[in-house]
């Protein structure tokens, strides 16, 4: 088998690269996104008090500490058998919505947007947030910065610290919300709703009304008919903080619905001999390789998959945009349910709809009379020994699973981070992109790196949730090897930063 390597960070030799394997006739046999393997997390945690986990896990990643913090405190609620008071759950969700607003904003303007706003073939030196601001104008750039800044303030106000929240505790939250804080957060939430609508309008003008860009979104280049996963509330509406895990089939209709604590009954992990990457799949369907269709257990967990599993959005403006998305793709609703969207570039659109949902949900929580209740904590009285908690992280369902002895000392820790769910799907999208440029052993260099970048960027993969220095400004290196493994050609593009 011929092997072709795209190495985005040559200084981390062997890590964070894209491997493309060619088959007998020079066709793309398989493609994989290799992420760095961080060692020893379980060993680092075992022997510690379980209560340390919300702070430890929030340090795993500098990008989404809030997601880890909340999945962790939810696991501790279970571990200590304590149900937080309603106000505590609402404060947690309120903080989480402010986080979602900043994270989705940043992704759209810095990573996803450039491919559409500047075009997929713009040079990488322009295809970045700077190019977006030049195109949309400085006022738009100022809105992005102001949005990040005001929501960081909310996170700090509720979470205790700017970088890593620390207010979550088993059984609740460490401090109530004052009326003064509530008023400020309500005003911020209103600004967030306006900003989300502004962002959707920009997407509408620049993408949906531009035939070339709309054709890109609706093209089959990244089309994969896989299962979709997401969290829903009691009425099957999207919820990012809490609910049941719902899985919808490629043709629509519910395949699975389970409590996050039952994840191990429904998910299994496929292992390949040549990589440490694990590929989770639906146990009930089985592993059939990196292929789509209802016979393959591959699933995706992303903003798009979350909308696919939702019957509706819980907030009115997001519902309007949600309906428009499914109308644009001509999805029908049958007895089984609504047909999902499988065009993966629509993930960027879905992310903006979630941005609007998060802003509206934040406003609903900030105006909930219970949010200022002083009852924010119930004290744990037991140690059950097992706790599993999950939230929808921006990049997919995040699950924390802890086991302890009868003193609450950790004996086992397992995390499934958002990106892990998508390992198979990311590989499939990269393969599809590569196939357009490699046939019969002939590699068309022009445009290939851009399209491969677009493939993994739409999933915004976290590199083992800790390595920050990747895409954005990475150099790309493509190494093409013959069947004996010798490098016969090297393509390289320097980073832009």
């Amino acid at each position: 088998m011929t092997r072709l390597t795209i190495d985005p960070i040559t200084r981390l030799e062997g890590h964070g690269r894209i491997e493309i394997f060619l088959g007998e006739h020079g066709e793309v046999a398989n493609a994989y996104f290799q992420v760095p393997e961080l060692r020893g997390f379980e060993r680092f945690c075992v022997g510690r008090h379980a209560e340390e986990m919300p702070v430890i896990t929030s340090r795993i990643c500098g990008v989404c500490p809030e997601a880890h913090h909340l999945a962790s405190v939810k696991a501790l609620d279970e571990l200590f058998g304590v149900e937080p008071p309603p106000a505590a759950k609402k404060i947690r969700e309120l903080l989480y919505m402010a986080f979602f607003v900043t994270d989705h904003t940043t992704h759209f303007y810095a990573l996803g947007g450039p491919d559409f706003i500047l075009g997929p073939d713009a040079p990488p030196s322009e295809r970045n947030i700077l190019g977006v601001i030049r195109k949309l104008g400085a006022e738009a750039g100022k809105k992005v910065i102001a949005c990040r800044s005001r929501n960081h303030r909310v996170i700090q106000m509720l979470g205790g610290r700017a970088v890593h929240p620390s207010a979550g505790l088993p059984g609740g939250w460490s401090k109530p919300v004052s009326e003064e804080e509530r008023r400020e957060i309500e005003a911020i939430a209103r600004q967030n709703v306006d900003f989300a609508l502004f962002s959707l309008a920009a997407f509408d003008d620049l993408v949906l009304k531009n035939p070339a860009h709309l054709a890109l979104v609706t093209s089959d280049i990244y089309l994969h008919r896989t299962y979709s996963m997401g969290t829903v509330d009691g009425e099957n509406r999207l919820n990012l903080y809490d609910g049941m895990i719902r899985v919808v089939a490629p043709e629509g209709g519910e395949t699975l619905k389970y409590h996050p604590r039952e994840y191990a009954d429904h998910l299994a992990e496929h292992v390949e001999p040549w990589t440490y990457l694990k590929f989770p799949y639906l146990r009930k369907i089985g592993w059939k390789g990196l292929v789509d269709g209802s016979g393959s257990g591959v699933y995706v967990a992303s903003p798009l998959s979350r909308l696919n599993v939702a019957a509706a959005m819980a907030t009115p403006r997001a519902q309007e945009h949600f309906e428009r998305l499914y109308e644009t793709f001509g999805c029908r609703t049958t007895g089984a349910g609504r047909e999902p969207v499988h065009h993966r570039l629509a993930t960027h659109w879905a992310r903006l709809i979630e941005l609007l949902y998060a802003a509206e949900r934040m406003l609903a929580l900030a105006t909930d009379p219970e949010i200022t209740s002083p009852e924010v904590r119930r004290m744990p009285e037991t140690i059950r020994g097992v706790g599993i908690g999950s939230v929808e992280a921006p990049r997919g369902t995040l699950t924390h699973h802890y086991e302890t002895d009868d003193r609450g000392i950790l004996t086992r820790v397992n995390l499934i981070v958002g990106t892990t769910n998508n390992h198979a799907a990311i590989a499939m999208s990269i393969k599809r992109a590569a196939e357009k440029f490699i046939t019969g052993g002939t590699v068309v260099e022009e445009g290939m790196l851009n399209r491969i970048e677009m493939a993994f960027r739409l999933y915004d993969p976290c590199l083992s949730c800790a390595t920050h220095s990747l895409p954005g400004a990475m150099p790309l290196e493509v190494r093409i090897r013959d069947r004996q493994g010798e490098v016969v050609r090297t393509l390289r593009r320097d980073g832009t930063g």
């Binding site: 200084r11 981390l12 890590h15 760095p36 393997e37 961080l38 060692r39 020893g40 997390f41 060993r43 680092f44 430890i56 340090r59 795993i60 500098g62 990008v63 500490p65 994270d103 940043t106 992704h107 810095a110 990573l111 970045n128 947030i129 700077l130 601001i133 030049r134 400085a138 750039g141 100022k142 910065i145 990040r148 800044s149 960081h152 970088v163 890593h164 915004d460 976290c462 590199l463 800790a466 390595t467 920050h468 220095s469 990747l470 895409p471 954005g472 400004a473 990475m474 980073g495 832009t496 930063g497």
Partner: protein
């Protein structure tokens, strides 16, 4: 002259935390200096831009994995070389130079002087709160370099000009 000292990195990823550990030592040394703030940051890119806004000088400390020198080597890096460090860029938004150019474009008050020290790491892929011995041994050196830079005359905007030319 308002100065911010920023230690970048992940404090639970062995040597990746060297910048954060230096920042903690500097916090203790700089308590009396009202014109100096010390920050820990665990992701670069736009967060780094946010962290530097409003200061006249910014001093950054980060781990490097250049592989061309022994672990524990401390080097002053230029802005153009900051792609060699671990945490100046953020894979989820952008690198430092585009972030700075963006800040300029939007009229953010950015530091006139940015200085960067990189400490070559031995291990950035194992969870752990302790630095490896050669990197731990380099901590006093990088702390003294930052202290000396704080005492020195401010440099001009030459380092920033280099950043602009690259854009």
């Amino acid at each position: 002259m308002k100065t911010v000292v920023i230690g970048l990195g992940n404090p639970i990823l062995t040597d990746d935390g060297v910048g954060v550990k230096a920042a903690r030592l500097l916090t203790a040394r700089l308590q009396e200096r009202e014109e100096v703030d010390v920050l820990e940051l665990h992701a670069g890119g736009l967060r780094l831009l946010d962290g530097m806004a409003g200061y006249q000088r910014a001093f950054l400390i980060d781990a490097t994995v250049a592989g061309d020198c022994p672990p524990g080597t401390v080097r002053a890096l230029t802005l153009a070389e900051c792609g060699r460090t671990r945490n100046m860029a953020c894979s989820h938004d952008t690198a430092l130079l585009p972030a700075l150019a963006m800040g300029d474009l939007l009229g953010c008050p950015l530091p006139a002087e940015i200085r960067i020290w990189g400490v070559e790491a031995a291990d950035v892929e194992t969870f752990g709160e302790e630095l490896t011995p050669p990197v731990a041994a380099a901590l006093p050196e990088v702390v003294e370099l930052v202290m000396a830079a704080l005492a020195a005359e401010p440099m001009g905007r030459s380092s920033m000009a280099g950043a602009r030319e690259r854009q």
